[in-house]
Symmetry: none
Subunit: 211 residues, 4 copies
DNA sequence: AATGAATGAGGATTCATTCAT
DNA sequence: TATGAATGAATCCTCATTCAT
């Protein structure tokens, strides 16, 4: 056992845990310092393993990060879809999906920042572009939010805006807020979340003329 | 003078130009490759100066980046305030400020990404926290958007939400869209910009009860 | 037993076989990639054993290689001496020994290259020097070729040249050709071998004055 | 100036010398320990420069070695051809070329071993095969020895053997002897060299029937 | 003032060897 | 006895920074 380990492993160390330790350390550090700002040696130290050990589980640093992204991204999507009911109104479904982003971000702050960073990296941009243009991404399936918007537009419930703009109106504020929350700049209580979600809906919903 | 320089400087080089060349090169490269992904040698090459020369203008790489951030951030704020008229309605002032973000981002994509990256870096987070809590940031002055929101809330024109949430609702979508635009994922024409700005206003404006 | 082993060893593995597998794998790989170019892990994989197992048979990598060299070198000498008849003429005995080198090299290309490599390594040079000067090498016995040359010189059948030069004249071309053959640069048929052996004899035999 | 330098540089260090120092150190060390047995750090130490400096002159270790080989190989060929007179008899020309190998090897022992090692490496074998089969090697020109043999065979002065065998008969013993000489196993005086050259000629020259 | 050659600390990765199972 | 996961020293290479010119 590495004497410098920061993780206490009393009595019985989980033999499967090493891979998890590496993944956790990577998410935590890269979400904070970025890919190039996080040396493998630091990951190893944080994970409580030797540097060489990381290469038993992952071919190289790129692969390590890519696999973590896939895993985190899938968990993220699952959170969004958990309890998703296609029979609900468009508004309720919208709120469900957006609330999921809040939830995931608050409960998995490191993962959230990791995913965000990845999407903003050159690799992530390429990924997004492929998904946008070829619809041939990892899973091949559209984001449910996109389907929802398309459907809502047909129903004249969602504004006539480019999909990318609608996505930005829905996700942009939430991502922004969650990052502020993670940075400790704001405390996200239930009331704030609900109000913000309602405001996001105001942004995308078709103007009913009000009058 | 670097013989491999890509910038011809015949006869009389503007001695003040060198600093600008370095700054421009840094913004362009770091906005694309990130801080750790951009070696000083590459900046020197792109700027058409010797690597050592950079250290005559900036103490070290950190300082270089920090000063560029301050400069770009100030230019950004100036863009927002250009033509800003405190006598306009709150809505018009909101639209003016937000449109400024679009404008700046589209006209200065490198600077925009640079600023965004900086704010998301560990250093940037610290900076924002200081500004938020101590109000003792670089300029010490609040964002005009924050003043506007506070004023609008008092007038019952702006939703009763934490300032950070309002900021997120206003800026989040725009930053999102501009990044997509820079990445080439969407073409931002005037119509889309206007509609999006209107939607942002829908998000922050006080619900008038549907009258 | 390594499940990825390329050598099926069903039911009952010959416990003595493991050492042989390791040796064979080592010879094959080192003859191709060199000492430093051949990791223990690769030897283990090729041998179908665990990496740790190798250390049950050999103290370390150096020892492994050294023992293999001794073994291969002895086998080589035995090949040369097989069927050697001290009653034959000097020429026939010379041809017998030299033909043996051809035979051994063609039939054991990996071993041949391994031995050659070893002799050219710093360790091999030391070994040869010790043998030459102290006559206290591994077996302590002279190469039969040296004895033969000494005898032939006394008979005025072999040229008056330093022993090392005679050895070079006899062995040099053959080693050269066998390496070319192993590298696939030439096809060594019986005719070529015989002619080359005759030419080697021409090189070392005493000039009979053109009679 | 590196205080650990092993090369005294009194008074005036040659500013161009650094590249030469690196090359010399590389030749010396690799000729002794081989490519994989010679770390860059050792080369740097021996050359009296920082490790990073090597990469200012050579892209990477492979390039360093390849360039040195080309340079040494060209110098070697020049030595062979220096004073070569196509009007001399085939025997004299043969002796001239072969004596050149002796000369080069004795005067440039490190380079000689370096070249030899390179030719025996996987890369070198490929090189030789290309030269042999495509005649499209570095310079594209045949070894003069090969031309000489082809010419001599037509004149019935050289034995009817495959070219590779003749080359082996001529070069093999000399390379062998020079290596022994470098290893300190034999002292090559003029008499030994001349006698050995004569013996090499005996090996390749057409048998005149002895009568 | 300007340069870029030189440096060496630091980064990613490999691999001989150990040791718990 | 046999294994292969784990290790960390050692390797190749990069790059921020210095400094002689």
């Amino acid at each position: 056992m590495n004497i410098h380990s920061t993780k206490a492993t009393p009595i019985q160390v989980n033999p499967i845990g090493k891979r998890e330790h590496i993944i956790d350390a990577t998410i935590k550090l890269i979400s904070e310092y970025g890919f190039h700002g996080t040396p493998i040696s630091l990951i190893a130290q944080e994970a409580g393993v030797g540097a060489g050990t990381i290469y038993r589980y992952f071919k190289d640093k790129d692969t390590l990060v890519l696999e973590i992204f896939k895993q985190a991204n899938n968990a993220f999507k699952e959170t969004l879809l958990h309890g998703y009911d296609a029979n609900q109104t468009i508004r309720d479904r919208f709120l469900h999906l957006c609330r999921g982003i809040f939830q995931y971000g608050i409960q998995n702050p490191y993962e959230f920042k990791f995913i965000e960073q990845f999407y903003n990296s050159p690799y992530g941009t390429t990924l997004r572009r492929e998904k946008l243009f070829c619809n041939c991404g990892d899973t091949g399936q559209e984001l449910p939010l996109e389907q929802l918007f398309a459907f809502g537009q047909a129903q004249q419930i969602i504004k006539k805006l480019p999909l990318a703009a609608l996505i930005a109106l829905a996700i942009g504020p939430i991502v922004f807020l969650v990052k502020d929350s993670i940075a400790g700049l704001i405390q996200l209580d239930e009331t704030t979340i609900n109000s913000t979600l309602a405001a996001c809906w105001d942004a995308v919903k078709q103007d009913t003329g009000g009058r």
